[in-house]
């Protein structure tokens, strides 16, 4: 009978004690906040020390409450404990963000490196293209040289000079013989392939006959060559014709061979410049 009453009395005692012990809202709030923070993996991972401080603080508030300290003291300790939980959370967030910054910094460096690598690859590609272009222009220069040697062209200070001999014209006539056409067609092709080069066409005669007649004949022969090139598609603005008459002999006019050498049309293919308007009108 006595044994039965002991647990009942005990339970009554506990219940009475529980009712007598008023709970503290601020303490309960602090404890709730702490449990939330403890359940947050970011806080346990990134703010272990501040979390421990918060736990100590909450425990101190609980002890103060259990000791029956004044409510103002328990409130104060609960306030400090709550703040420490918030500090732990803020520090966890800060440390996580700083970790992200470190990681992102590495990532940025990788991206920059990747971009540089790509730029270098592009630069190498560009260099290869430039090499190819150089090879192509070298090839075209070689082709030009081959063409010019076919034409028996001479490289002079003024440019490349192709000389059409006297045999291509009848005596005292300015019409070209069909034999001249092979050379002129080849020259037209060459000029078409080198559109930036201008051409001087200069007629010359021997000293036989009057100066006026020779000037006129030499100019007409130059014009005849120019009109062939123009018909072959060369822009007339690239062509300048002059008649020198007998003023620029290559050889002596005393001999037949010399006079034949002096009767000629010289075609000067200039460097890659188109002559000015004033030069052309001369």
């Amino acid at each position: 009978m006595r044994n039965v009453w002991i647990p009942v009395a005990l339970a009554a005692c506990i219940a009475t004690a529980g009712c007598a012990t008023k709970s503290n809202t601020n303490l309960v709030n602090a404890e709730t906040k702490l449990r939330v923070a403890e359940a947050n993996p970011a806080v346990t991972a990134h703010a272990a020390v501040p979390l421990h401080d918060a736990q100590t603080s909450v425990a101190a508030a609980r002890t103060s409450f259990e000791k029956g300290d004044a409510e103002v003291e328990v409130d104060h300790l609960s306030y400090v404990a709550s703040r420490r939980v918030e500090i732990a959370e803020a520090i966890a967030e800060r440390n996580a963000a700083q970790k992200d910054v470190t990681q992102l910094g590495k990532e940025r460096a990788d991206v920059v490196l990747e971009a540089r690598t790509q730029e270098a690859a592009i630069a190498r590609e560009d260099a290869t293209i430039a090499e190819h272009q150089a090879a192509i222009s070298a090839f075209s220069a070689a082709a030009l040289a081959a063409e010019l040697s076919e034409l028996k062209a001479k490289q002079t200070e003024r440019g490349i000079v192709v000389t059409l001999g006297d045999v291509l014209f009848d005596v005292d006539r300015s019409e070209l013989k069909p034999a001249a056409m092979t050379d002129l067609n080849r020259l037209a092709d060459l000029l078409a392939a080198e559109p930036r080069r201008a051409v001087l066409i200069e007629g010359h005669t021997d000293s036989t006959g009057t100066a006026g007649h020779n000037d006129e004949l030499s100019r007409q022969r130059a014009d005849a060559v120019a009109s062939v090139l123009t018909r072959r598609g060369i822009n007339p603005s690239r062509i300048t014709t002059r008649g020198f008459g007998s003023s620029s002999p290559l050889a002596s006019n005393e001999t037949n061979a010399g006079r034949q050498e002096n009767r000629r049309v010289e075609i000067v293919v200039l460097e890659a410049t188109v002559p000015s308007v004033s030069e052309r009108s001369r």
């Binding site: 104060h76 967030e93 963000a97 992200d100 992102l104 990532e107 790509q118 592009i122």
Partner: protein, 126 residues
């Protein structure tokens, strides 16, 4: 010999009285100093712009703590100073967290821009 023993006993008695004296509220100069240091530290962080409310609360409590010391209410002064300290620490932690997060976001943006540029660069390559 006997007088020496008397001196030792006297000293022990004085120490005991001193210890008892410590349990009564004392001037919380150290707590106020810690609060001021925490506020100064928060001020140099981004707290004035990123956590102005917490910082303001900390400043007000530190001022009230000093007023309480003048009123000889040392217990109140100590509580206010302790609260001011944690308020200031929270303000600083929040500000640092904000600024670290902003840096991370900015970096993310920079990386995105770099990636886009790199892709465009490859696309327009000859």
């Amino acid at each position: 010999m006997r007088s020496a023993f008397t001196w030792v006993a006297g000293l022990m008695l004085l120490t005991a009285i001193g210890t008892v004296g410590c349990s009564t509220p004392r001037k919380p100069a150290q707590e106020v100093e810690k609060a001021d240091l925490a506020i100064a530290s928060a001020n140099t962080s981004g707290a004035p712009t990123d956590a102005p409310l917490e910082l303001q609360i900390a400043r007000e409590k530190a001022e009230k703590a000093k007023a309480a010391i003048r009123d000889k209410d040392f217990k109140l002064a100590q509580r206010l100073a302790e609260q001011a300290q944690v308020d200031a620490q929270l303000a600083e932690a929040k500000a640092e967290s904000e600024s670290a997060r902003a840096s991370a976001t900015e970096l993310e943006h920079t990386i995105e821009v770099l990636r886009t540029e790199a892709e465009r660069g490859v696309g327009s390559a000859p």
